[in-house]
């Protein structure tokens, strides 16, 4: 079957089998920044934004995303021109192996769009779907706090 997706701003038609999950379509099409960790909905490394909302691409069929927009980590900034969240994650030392970071930053982005001044508890809740096995989450929460400040323009 054919589905139409807008991935990181570019609309295209994709051929998928009905059983194909979204994560497998994305990785097959070269969006390997979408990480496959647990592959069953627990770890959050496969998080993408579907029409702006974080979802887990490993526990949905690709066809469920038909006609919607998908944002991956590479859709929000580049190495030369990173998103404020990406820059803050690096500057605050919030990245160790980095496997969890694409999903975590996307969750943070969705959170800050809804709530530009989150309390620490709200950040923890916004990132609750993204497991990190390296850091202790401390630096990541700090990175989101300082990105929030910069995005609001008060730092």
């Amino acid at each position: 079957m054919q589905i139409e997706l807008e991935i990181n701003g570019e609309r295209d038609t994709y051929e998928v089998a009905p059983a194909t999950r979204l994560i497998d379509l994305l990785r097959r099409e070269g969006f390997q920044e979408v990480k496959k960790g647990c592959d069953e909905g627990h770890c959050g490394s496969c998080t993408v934004l579907l029409d702006g909302m974080p979802v887990l691409s490993c526990v949905m069929f690709a066809a469920q995303a038909d006609d919607q927009s998908i944002t991956t980590i590479e859709g929000i900034g580049t190495i030369d021109d990173p998103h404020i969240l990406q820059r803050e994650f690096v500057d605050k030392g919030a990245v160790q192996c980095g496997f969890c970071v694409p999903g975590m930053i996307l969750s943070a982005k969705a959170l800050l769009e809804e709530n530009p001044s989150p309390e620490e508890d709200e950040i923890k809740r916004g990132l609750d779907g993204n497991y990190c096995r390296c850091t202790g989450y401390v630096k990541q929460i700090e990175a989101v706090q300082s990105a929030a400040k910069k995005m609001r323009g008060d730092a």
């Binding site: 009905p18 887990l56 526990v59 066809a63 038909d66 969750s107 990132l127 609750d128 779907g129």
Partner: protein
């Protein structure tokens, strides 16, 4: 899902009924969080409910109506639900899974797939909700007590579509309290307890207790509820009622806890939530 060949996207409930009944081997798809990781050789087609218009939560004169494809996040953020019976169902939805999962898991999918980790059934039992189901013959309304009495798969055929959950009028001003007891924040419930309470002064006028995840089907505690009505709710009564409830629910072992452990939890959590509902 190696034999899955078709993906249908009906645009109305009538069309969904037609598509799901057209051939054997078709299954309804809602959020996909259960189905997409299910290995089924017999599923040959999916009928996606996304566009049939069931993603509402609305206020009606006779009930609050929750469409089957409303997601947990919508329940959590609904001011209607936040203001209904102490916000019980909004509180419950807020503790399902994690943030991205709450954007995906639907109310209908959560109650149809009555698994030991499903969080909605027990509070729906405590709220005396009704569940609406549609098939080719028409619509049937099941009281929660009946719907959750057995596994819904024994009650429903593959072609039955859960369309709506209705919350009754008359209890919106009751208070409530809920505990989902978990090993870590985002894991499945070992046991959950929901209390819905109406008081006059210190005297209980009406009360419902729902216990989830402790037994294969969610349970109410009718004997405990009877003991409470017209009595003065204090710590010693709450404790006694916890014991009655513990004796009433036939707990079973699973990887999250032994039956014995869950029984002890029921006793403690019923007491705690009764006292909390009283002061909230």
């Amino acid at each position: 899902m190696q034999n899955l060949k078709e993906f249908e996207r009906p645009q109305s409930l009538d069309e969904a009924v037609e598509k799901i009944s057209a051939k054997p081997g078709r299954r309804l798809l809602a959020g996909g969080t259960g189905l997409s990781i299910t290995d089924s050789k017999t599923t040959i087609g999916l009928v996606d409910l996304k566009s049939v218009g069931l993603d509402y939560i609305e206020d009606d004169s006779d009930a609050i109506k929750i469409g089957a494809t409303a997601v947990m996040r919508a329940l959590e953020e609904s001011s209607l639900l936040q203001n209904y019976a102490g916000g019980l169902l909004a509180d419950v939805a807020a503790e399902v899974g994690t943030t991205p999962l709450r954007n995906m898991i639907t109310a209908g999918g959560n109650i149809t797939q009555l698994r030991v980790w499903s969080d909605l059934p027990a509070p729906l039992l405590a709220l005396d909700a009704e569940i609406l189901v549609t098939d080719q013959e028409g619509e049937t309304t099941y009281p929660a007590q009946k719907f959750f009495h057995r596994h819904p798969s024994q009650l429903l055929d593959d072609t039955d579509i859960v369309t709506e959950i209705q919350l009754p009028r008359g209890i919106e001003n009751y208070s409530s309290s809920y505990t989902k007891f978990v090993a870590v924040d985002d894991s499945y419930a070992v046991t959950s307890v929901s209390v819905v309470l109406d008081m006059e002064g210190d005297t209980v006028k009406d009360v419902r207790i729902g216990v989830g995840s402790a037994s294969p089907s969610p349970a109410r505690c009718p004997e405990a509820e009877e003991e409470l009505v017209d009595a003065e709710l204090n710590e010693s009564l709450a404790e006694k009622v916890g014991e009655i409830c513990r004796a009433n629910v036939n707990t079973t072992d699973n990887v999250w806890g032994s039956g014995d452990y869950k029984s002890k939890l029921i006793e403690k959590l019923v007491k705690k939530n009764l006292l909390q509902a009283k002061t909230s």
